[in-house]
Symmetry: D2
């Protein structure tokens, strides 16, 4: 299986879902190896680089893409299987951006208080030990943390002619910022426009659930993925399947609405997978769901609802496409 490699030049970065000409056309079944810049466009390189000087919040999360998927039409299901998500630089950056994040007032949660101190942290990557190193700014603490690479943003063009900032997560995917978006995951997204026009970006070398300060260990990334397409069957909201879980992600405000969205999506999915009545699926999920928060800092807040396959009988979604993609991924070889 061949892999198409693509690294955008800086002027090819996209900052929206929708509203951008495709970088290329790809056929379902294609494997892509994509380089993506970090959320800051690579401009925070030392602790002296402050976000208030260097970062324009209208142009963050540069996207690699969008990709036009041949034959994809509104109502279809775009399937993206993440084969590998690997750090493409030897350092990541994080920042407490003034009036951005979860432990500060923001442009939405407005108060009259002063902002927190604009602060940047640089995390050195140790490839041998597979760690990034937290270095405290106000003391000498250094703590090595495991690298757990993931993509903050995976999305398609929205419906109705809308164009959304790559800071936004919503029904079209986007900036969901969940650690579940990692190698081994198969993502299902409803197609809204011809060609789907998906893009990825905002790699995180690791991220806590909630992304509390507003930024993860942001890093350039090399992502290998397989693109596939199912005609029809578009899910209401993004779904993820991996070897262990059925998952859905809701993104809205307030946070309970994000949960309601994701929980209903999983209830309906479980009902459909197992032939259960909705009320029985509701009851069953109530006793088995895991519900990690993804982010409480973006334009919408995101919640993941997941159900462990191990707790339930065997079932296949979409004719077992996840297992099939896992097998296909093997043929890509390691690198």
């Amino acid at each position: 299986m061949d892999v198409i490699e693509y690294t955008p030049t800086r002027d090819q970065y996209a900052y929206t879902f929708g509203g951008v000409e495709p970088a290329m056309k790809v056929a379902p079944g294609t494997a892509l190896r994509l380089w993506s810049d970090d959320a800051f466009g690579g401009v925070l390189r030392s602790i002296d680089d402050l976000s208030s000087d260097k970062v324009d919040l209208r142009f963050v999360n540069p996207q690699t893409g969008p990709f036009y998927v041949e034959a994809a039409e509104p109502g279809d299901t775009l399937v993206l299987h993440l084969v590998d998500v690997e750090p493409a630089r030897d350092w990541g950056a994080s920042a407490a951006i003034p009036f951005f994040g979860g432990m500060t007032s923001t442009d939405r949660v407005v108060t009259l208080q002063e902002p927190l101190a604009d602060t940047t942290w640089i995390y050195e990557l140790d490839r041998d030990r597979n760690t990034v190193s937290f270095a405290a700014r106000h003391s000498d603490h250094r703590i090595d943390l495991p690298v757990e690479p993931m993509l903050g943003t995976v999305g398609v063009a929205p419906p109705g002619g809308e164009v959304r900032s790559s800071l936004v997560p919503d029904r079209f995917g986007g900036n969901m910022d969940t650690p579940q978006m990692r190698a081994g995951s198969t993502v299902f997204l409803g197609v809204n426009v011809e060609g789907a026009l998906f893009s990825i970006g905002d790699g995180h070398y690791r991220q806590g659930e909630g992304e509390a300060c507003g930024t993860a260990v942001e890093g350039a990334m090399t992502t290998t993925l397989i693109v596939d397409l199912i005609k029809g069957g578009a899910p209401g909201w993004p779904r993820i399947e991996d070897d262990a879980h059925w998952m859905a992600i809701g993104s809205s405000r307030p946070l309970e609405d994000s949960w309601r969205i994701a929980n209903a999506e999983v209830v309906h999915w479980v009902a459909e997978l197992y032939g259960l009545h909705t009320m029985d699926a509701y009851q069953l999920c109530s006793q088995v769901a895991q519900v990690p928060i993804a982010n409480v800092v973006d334009a919408n807040y995101s919640v993941v609802v997941k159900v462990a396959k191990a707790l339930l009988p065997t079932a296949d979604a979409c004719d077992g496409i996840h297992a099939d993609l896992r097998a296909r991924a093997q043929s890509l070889g390691s690198h």
Copy 2:
């Protein structure tokens, strides 16, 4: 180490935190073995028992207690170490109560729609296999699920003379409905009144995160715990330590406020445990926190923020009281 056993009679059930005379006085260091009835007071015994007939929502989550802890004064820290949490009946019950739960309008999220069908599920317990059995009401599906016993409610009397329903989680603990409240956990609660007046109840044979339908696999429980007291040092909100995690629980509305509360509590705890500046603790927790939702169905919604000890250097909270309690628990023997 002796264990005091206590099983309340039905007329000794408490339905509030605060406002109830203590069931007994106990000295710090005491071990208790407590029987508690299920959330419904044991009245849902078959699928024909409907909550709208049998359950008065003003009197659910019957509490065992309260217990007056000698020497406990406002500002102190009550420490409860859960040694064992064991099903006390051979079945549990769950229900979709009209206008109660997360996938329905409620008395707060008011709409003009009809309620979902009032439905009861009974889960048979298999002690040998340590499972409860989900039996679908609208088809023949049966799914055995592992028993993972926990307590929905653990709390103390609130401050300022308030008395709160045992349906409510808040700063005083209460109906937090988190699966983290299980054997092996050490709970830290701020004392608000002389004697602390803690109580427990609302045992769950298992519960998904979020407690989506509003009720878990509700079951009578036998809980063995050790009571201890630290003078002063009351945390702002409930904290839990187990062998693997530092945790805090926030309970409010909307759900993002619950998260803000819990996340700030953990940030301050980590800052204190490791001698980090608040901004550094904020950054560090942003990259390592796990954030499971506890409930989105109670009078307040609850979120847990937890940090894995394995990711951080070794540290002791409160002079290592958790490890000490683990050791003391050994001396209680198994049963």
Copy 3:
């Protein structure tokens, strides 16, 4: 018609709804003239009195009462007609209390930011001109504002044995902080316990909608009211009728839930008053409702939904008790 006068001593102040012995028993039909202290218990008397020094937030909004209403039983409707609400001092006070209010992080909307400056404003009352005088603290501006006296708190004991702080608005009334609670208004509250146990307090010489900074022009007040009782018919949430409007008040979080509560209450009231189907009442109210926010700063946020009588056909609530009380109030004479 006689008027019973009552001024509590400081040790007779109540700080909760429920949990307090009645100050006196009164028969339905009784007129009361009640003195109430300001929200701060009168301790902020100059701009040098800071809330962080002088005010304990567990003991604010001192209540005058509670009053035991003879024959009142759970399920009945307590009717309070406000005849006069008159400033009882020559000054009022307002404060920006650290971490309290709408334009600051709070103990629920937690951030890591510093608080706003603790600041006190004193408003001199000019009885002849019926104004209070805003005096800027950071410049020489003085602006005279009309006195528009109202009560922040009017409530009864909650159900289920709960006791709630006088800072809390909820289904039982309490700290709703709406300017609609003024002379000429008739308040309908569901009775939860024998005797209803109502109390009043938290007088405001004037208040903007939202009570943005967390405090109004707080002032001691003399309130004349008539107590009445309707057997049965308890509304779900507090209702107010005045000469011009039908109103209901919802108090919850987030603010949209407060609105949902109040709007549903008004829809049901209008359906009942005019014999409309619920869907028609829903439609009609959608086109005529006025929806002023009451507070966004208390333990629950409050929203008023009101419908102008002038827009609708004539109707009587509860056999015209409001008009009857207006007439009875005349016999009390002015003062």
Copy 4:
């Protein structure tokens, strides 16, 4: 003063803010008379026309425009003075759209309940009496209500290349659905793109605050307005000035965030108008603000914060442009 008249053909309707070619270029100072279709594109013409059959929610609120304002650049302030807003048909329509509105679960406030009955109401307009007639669907009630024409949507193209549905209110204005958007009002909107690209639509013959059922008395409208431009000085969020009030509108979720946005905007405006310190403006506004909810049903919820000019000393915003526009409007004559 000449007036440019413009009536779009159906294929010229715009359904987004941004992403649409301008209908025409206009110079600052131009008067326009614009016909706009109703929110449903005129397809609900009888009570037998159901929204589920006739309305596609991706294409509602057809906009008239956008208009390219010469010389308008990002950071400038677009000024629109509404001279007349007049019904252009003899009937209006309202509907309870399944899973849309405030008293139902929605695609965000997701539950598993059935929808409310899809229902349409037609309001006949009586031009002589200036009323629309509510006709109950489930009984014989008819109630004539005063016509109070307003525009649901007034907005400009968003920043950052975003394109938003005409169902959305946000920082760029849009579907704010406030009755304050009526003849006599001067609207101030920050310009985000060259030419501003403003449009209007979604006329309401009248609307209650909150727009509870999700739709007002929706009607085609003829709007006369004067376009003006102030270089620089873009407000953070939409501001409105009329003869009686200073106002700002916040649109977000949850509803308290909308309020925080609008309240902060007004506090800053009052501080600037009167030369007050922010803390003094915060205090003053807390005692004088009126806070009507605009909508609790759109993609964002909207709140208006307004301050009565009569309560404050005289002040001019933007060199008295509102008074100037009022004068210029006179010269347009009545019609």
